[in-house]
């Protein structure tokens, strides 16, 4: 459908041009044709009347058959100015400027029927009116009878052709002017229609790009204004609903943050109590000792969970702040391993001299999470590698366990996601990797999970060397 690919403006232009042209062609054509007919008719009638007039004023015919001299005198009486004449009688002919061969045979045949006849012919490209008549003789009873003398006269129509050509030129220039006018009008109309359409398009694009406050301008009361109104109503409803959803989500997050904060104080007290219990549990006999140790362990887990929740809430609220420092990454990794007591369980490849501007506390959290996960869920040997490329620091933690199942891989950074539902409760709530990823993002870096050949999970932390840009 190439016709439809023309666009609104093109179609309007075409329609206006066709309308303007056809109207002008019709009007100009009809009036041109009419004027041409009138001009020709008048010229022809005048020429015929003048010939008839002159023929009836000829001197009376003395002899029939006429002598050559008589024919010539008739011819010279009838020829007038630029109009040459020819007089024929049987085989005789006389004339100046008009030869017998110039008379069309059908005109010659028609002349013998006793009426004045004429015909437009073209002589060397010039239109000529050939008029012919037979000279009649008056009878005593008032009638006429043919004498056999035929009189022809040629009347050039060059002047009339000139007038008609001028008419045609006028018609053509009228057509051209009307085409220009039609195109101008079409452009004007197209602008009137297209401007609201393109404004509506812009508003829709802004809305699609996420600007929920995007509105179209409603002008007038036509169909386009109706569309703009509907668009505005839709956008308004969408904005309201999205706003409500956001508010609800924010409420939920604030609730979590508030709860976590409220739990912190009693938990601190409980932790203090369980510290005492821990010391005493060794002295408690049997089940009482076990219960005391369980309470102590779970209290620690709960405290960790609350800390994690508070950390996540800070990320969600956008209040997590970076405290950057120039760090030697190899030293930072070693410190993390040392403080957790993992130095013996992990093989490292840590080239010295790799530095970056990072938050040391957050880097420690991320590294501890990556290595801790590898030790807990993977199989030894666990390796930690440090590399620096093109302004990025890359830390890779790999294990030789079964690796991550594809379904796990998609959700490994989700909150409260546990790959194995039967996993021991002591392993944590499932917020560790989520917090690690948020920390990496806060630095302007990423954390990616994957598998490697032949088996084993790989976590790759990529951080910018020169701090957050």
């Amino acid at each position: 459908m190439t016709g439809w690919a023309l666009g609104l403006r093109g179609r309007l232009l075409l329609a206006f041009a066709v309308l303007g042209l056809s109207t002008t062609a019709l009007v100009a054509g009809v009036s041109y044709w009419q004027a041409r007919t009138v001009i020709l008719q008048k010229a022809q009638d005048a020429a015929v009347v003048s010939l008839v007039d002159e023929v009836s004023r000829l001197a009376p015919v003395r002899e029939l058959p006429p002598s050559q001299a008589e024919l010539e005198s008739i011819a010279s009486a009838v020829s007038e100015g630029p109009d040459p004449a020819l007089v024929r009688y049987g085989n005789l002919s006389a004339g100046d400027g008009l030869a017998a061969v110039d008379v069309p045979p059908q005109l010659h045949r028609a002349v013998t029927e006793g009426r004045v006849v004429w015909q437009r012919i073209s002589v060397d490209g010039v239109p000529v009116l050939a008029i012919g008549t037979e000279l009649m003789a008056d009878k005593r009873d008032g009638g006429t009878e043919p004498t056999g003398i035929e009189i022809y006269r040629a009347h050039p129509l060059a002047e009339e052709q000139h007038s008609i050509d001028q008419l045609a030129a006028l018609a053509w220039s009228t057509g051209a002017a009307s085409l220009v006018l039609a195109v101008l009008l079409a452009l004007l109309a197209a602008r009137g229609v297209l401007r609201p359409v393109s404004e509506l398009g812009r508003a829709a694009r802004r809305l699609g790009e996420g600007d929920l406050q995007s509105r179209a301008t409603v002008r007038g009361g036509d169909e386009l204004a109706g569309v703009a109104q509907i668009f505005n109503q839709t956008a308004e409803r969408l904005e309201r609903q999205v706003g409500e959803l956001r508010r609800m989500e924010a409420d939920a997050r604030r609730f979590v943050a508030d709860v976590s904060h409220e739990l912190r104080t009693p938990l601190a007290a409980m932790t203090a109590v369980t510290d005492v219990l821990d010391e005493e549990s060794a002295k408690l006999p049997g089940d009482a000792g076990k219960a005391a140790r369980l309470v102590s362990q779970e209290t620690q887990n709960l405290a960790q969970l609350v800390e994690d929740l508070i950390e996540i809430s800070r990320f969600d609220a956008g209040t997590a702040a970076l405290t950057v420092d120039d760090l030697d990454i190899a030293a930072a990794v070693r410190a993390t391993l040392r403080s957790r007591g993992w130095t013996d369980r992990v093989s490292t490849d840590l080239p010295d001299g790799v530095t970056a501007r990072l938050d040391p506390r957050r880097l420690d959290v991320v590294l501890a999470n990556m290595v801790g996960n590898a030790l807990r869920h993977g199989a030894p040997p666990v390796t930690v590698e440090l590399r620096a490329t093109n302004g990025w620091v890359v830390v890779t933690v790999a294990d030789h366990g079964p690796g991550l199942a594809p379904t796990v891989l998609d959700h490994v950074f989700d909150r409260f996601y546990k790959a194995d539902s039967a996993r021991s409760r002591s392993d944590g709530a499932g917020l560790g990797l989520a917090i690690a990823l948020e920390n990496a993002k806060l630095h302007g870096g990423t954390l990616v999970a994957g598998n490697r050949e032949p088996h084993g999970a790989v976590f790759t932390l990529v951080l910018p060397q020169d701090g957050v840009s």
């Binding site: 015919v61 003395r62 058959p65 004045v116 003789a137 009878e145």
Partner: protein
């Protein structure tokens, strides 16, 4: 799309055909103009039909001489132009008498021996000179008429 092109082409062709001054067919107008004949009118035969000739002679002494002129036949110029006459020389002398509106022509030869063309020649010639009344031809005992000249074409 093709049909639209054809329509536009046909429209253009019509417009162009109407342009300028084009040759036409034969247009027929009013009756041919007439003039008077100053000479004597005679009717001779051309192409098997009576046809008008005129002779620039001095006026006749006797009206009947006009029929004598017919009997004498075409002169040299008329013969050269293809005219003939069927009126026999033996009909002279002739007498013309007026009877009311009509004219009676008394011939020396037998009227029944004249061809139709010869009769028409005489009737037309006499009517052209004496008026449009009917003409009766008589000879010893026989008569033809009253007759009128058939319209010449």
């Amino acid at each position: 799309m093709n049909r639209r092109l054809l329509a536009v082409g046909a429209l253009l062709a019509t417009l162009l055909a109407g342009c300028g001054v084009r040759p036409s067919g034969v247009i027929t107008g009013g009756p041919a103009p007439a003039n008077t004949i100053s000479g004597l009118r005679l009717y001779l035969i051309a192409d098997g039909r009576p046809a008008l000739v005129a002779r620039g002679l001095k006026p006749l002494q006797q009206p009947s001489e006009i029929v004598d002129l017919l009997a004498a036949g075409p002169n040299a110029a008329e013969r050269a132009a293809g005219f003939t006459s069927e009126v026999p020389a033996g009909i002279a002398p002739v007498k013309l008498t007026s009877e009311g509106t009509g004219t009676t022509v008394a011939l020396a030869a037998d009227v029944d021996g004249l061809s139709v063309l010869a009769v028409n020649q005489i009737v037309c010639t006499v009517q052209a000179m004496a008026g449009s009344g009917p003409v009766t031809l008589v000879s010893s005992g026989t008569r033809r008429g009253p007759l009128t000249c058939p319209p010449l074409s």
